[in-house]
Subunit: 401 residues, 2 copies
């Protein structure tokens, strides 16, 4: 809805505050035995009570059947058509660790991995080596020199790192070296189009040097690179919606998304309790808070039904603290479903709840997939959620006479 013609003309000033909680991987699927989803199985009295006095519905992140990554899932919730606007994986990772990217900088998401004597991948994540070990290896790779290109290697978390190349004429038209599976060697990085022909030999040289420098390691004796990308040019969230917007997220990638959209990114801790404390601390300073909750997705990704149930229950305990701030609009949305049954992101519609002075309950008795399907918001594209949030906040004037 970022491209909605005339949106700017409708925006009006308001002292209202919007709290926009994204529960990563919120949606689920029924357990094969109990026939109840994670949300239906969880003891979430505060969320259920809130649903009874909110407007509820289900969002479709991209299109029916399309499973979104974190980027498209969040862009859609913030009103950016995820088929039009994209953020590459490398850029997301780089922004997430606070790198300041310059236009033209080329980035890739890296994994330290383990290969056998024949060069075949035995572990794509090098046994999830610790962030500390990874830091040492990243520093070593940072010493690689390529002709005419400034190079940085930054550790992220565990086996992950970011490769940043700065120079003229670099292109993201380079193939991934990560084959996505074990038992085969990493792929050769090649140009995907003529634009990538200058960049490909640079990347090949980096990979060859990295292999030499890591050769003696037990774990992490090779690298995998994927998601070559440069900083996209996206409409600024704050200017588009005339909001002073801040993001609070423990996990780097979500801070990265917020930063590329132009939100202020508030320093916070690694737990949701710390995120809530950060929110309370800065409550007076912004109109819009993007608050990110990660654990539900993490458990779903692991196929851990009970773990996801517990993550939702843990979230529920924080709901009173959030409501105690008296946001004019409280949005609870998910970027995508991560059903434990699937063990990963999925294409399913995601529960949505909007609470404001205009929502007084509508017969939805609990907060879960089936109940939200009966809610007054119905099914809507995720890109419509921001419009609803603005409307409930009194920030959208009447359209037309």
């Amino acid at each position: 809805m970022i491209d909605l013609p005339g949106l700017t003309d409708l925006l009006q000033e308001s002292p209202s505050k919007i709290l926009f909680l994204v529960v990563d991987g919120l949606g689920g699927l029924p357990h094969p035995e109990t026939h109840r989803s994670e949300l239906e199985s969880a003891r979430i009295p505060h969320l259920n009570a809130l649903a009874r006095r909110s407007a509820c519905g289900l969002t479709t992140p991209v299109l029916p059947g399309i499973t979104p990554g974190s980027g498209p899932g969040h862009l859609a919730l913030f009103g950016y058509d995820p088929l039009k606007y994209t953020i590459g994986r490398g850029v997301l990772e780089a922004l997430g660790i606070g790198l300041t990217l310059q236009p033209g900088d080329l980035t890739a998401r890296g994994n330290f991995c383990t290969v056998d004597a024949q060069g075949r991948i035995t572990d794509r994540r090098a046994g999830r080596i610790s962030t500390e070990e990874s830091r040492v290896l990243a520093e070593r790779l940072g010493g690689i020199r390529l002709p005419g290109v400034h190079l940085e290697v930054h550790p992220v978390k565990e086996h992950r790192f970011v490769l940043l190349l700065r120079g003229d004429g670099l292109s993201e038209a380079i193939s991934d070296t990560d084959p996505g599976r074990t038992g085969v060697p990493p792929r050769e990085p090649t140009a995907l189009s003529p634009a990538g022909e200058r960049t490909a030999p640079l990347v090949q040289a980096f990979v060859a040097e990295a292999q030499k420098l890591l050769a003696g390691e037990q774990k992490g004796n090779m690298v995998l690179l994927r998601g070559w990308s440069r900083l996209p040019s996206l409409p600024n969230f704050c200017q588009t919606y005339r909001l002073r917007a801040a993001a609070i997220a423990a996990y780097p990638m979500y801070r990265g998304i917020a930063r590329v959209l132009g939100m202020a990114v508030l320093p916070t801790g690694s737990t949701f309790a710390e995120e809530v404390a950060t929110l309370q601390e800065h409550w007076d300073q912004y109109d819009f808070f993007f608050l990110h909750y990660k654990p539900a997705d993490a458990a779903g990704e692991d196929g851990d039904f009970q773990g996801k149930v517990r993550a939702l229950e843990a979230l529920d305990e924080h709901i009173p603290s959030l409501l105690a701030l008296h946001p004019d609009v409280f949005v609870l949305a998910g970027d995508h479903a991560t059903p434990a049954l699937v063990g990963g992101h999925s294409w399913h519609a995601v529960p949505l709840l909007i609470h404001s002075r205009y929502t007084r309950g509508e017969g939805v008795e609990a907060f879960h997939e089936r109940a939200c399907a009966q809610g007054s918001l119905g099914r809507l594209p995720a890109t419509a959620v921001m419009l609803l949030a603005l409307a409930h906040a009194g920030r959208l004037a009447k359209y037309g006479a």
Copy 2:
């Protein structure tokens, strides 16, 4: 969704099989006395049991209020925007009887009809004369000669035939001669645009010759022509979705649709039992089967509520045989509603059911319009069904990082 940018990038290999059953005219409306629709009235225990462990919803074939023909109804289910892609009636009929059309061939759907001494139509279908009688008349018309044009007249079924004109510069911009009602003479075929000006006199000459050749007949003493069309250029279904797709349909038109989309069309008999046998025979050879069930539509067209109920009950008896093949994904959809109350195609939303390992039931207790309206799939455009089928089949990778 054929035009979804990046769809090709998301497609991934899978050994999964999709069984896509189209129940022609599936949707209905409540009987004025019982207030129960055809599906609600039918004894369909297998479909109801399947609905209890499937994802259900309602499809909108084109747009709310728009009643689709068979072409748009099927194109939409296969993911082709029916407002963008069209197949003319003449082409559909021609393909349905196995004609191999060349680019530029002009076709029309013909009816033998009966006119009175004043040339006014008394029966648009010539009393539904037999296919055998029709064949004799068609052969007679096949002897007509037009300057510079190769001409063929092929009998279809009962009073129907196909007129095929082959030559340079033929255009489908010709008006129908069928006025769609009795009591008036057939319309003069005229050019609808300058492109049709060369073709119109040829068609006028054909009609005049046909009238002379049929003058002595009791029934079928005149022809009606409509649906002037040439072979459209549609994206190939198999290439678009990377599926080895086969169609099994007793009725010619649906084989024709499948053929123009590039599906393999399997020879089969005239009953659904024979279609099922064909399916069983070829189960190992394809990834995707379009299986077509006609009787529900035929009864609905006749305004025969009980007949449609029986047709749905007859279908239900075949469901166990279909499930015994263990398709990874079983889709049951309708190309449009054909409520007996309407006595023809209608614009109403159509029940949809998708069964896969990811569907474990969601509280929908039966397979009918009202129950499906409460299903987890909600209302969705028919063009989204293929995306869901591919997602459930594990054939769509995650979109974006």
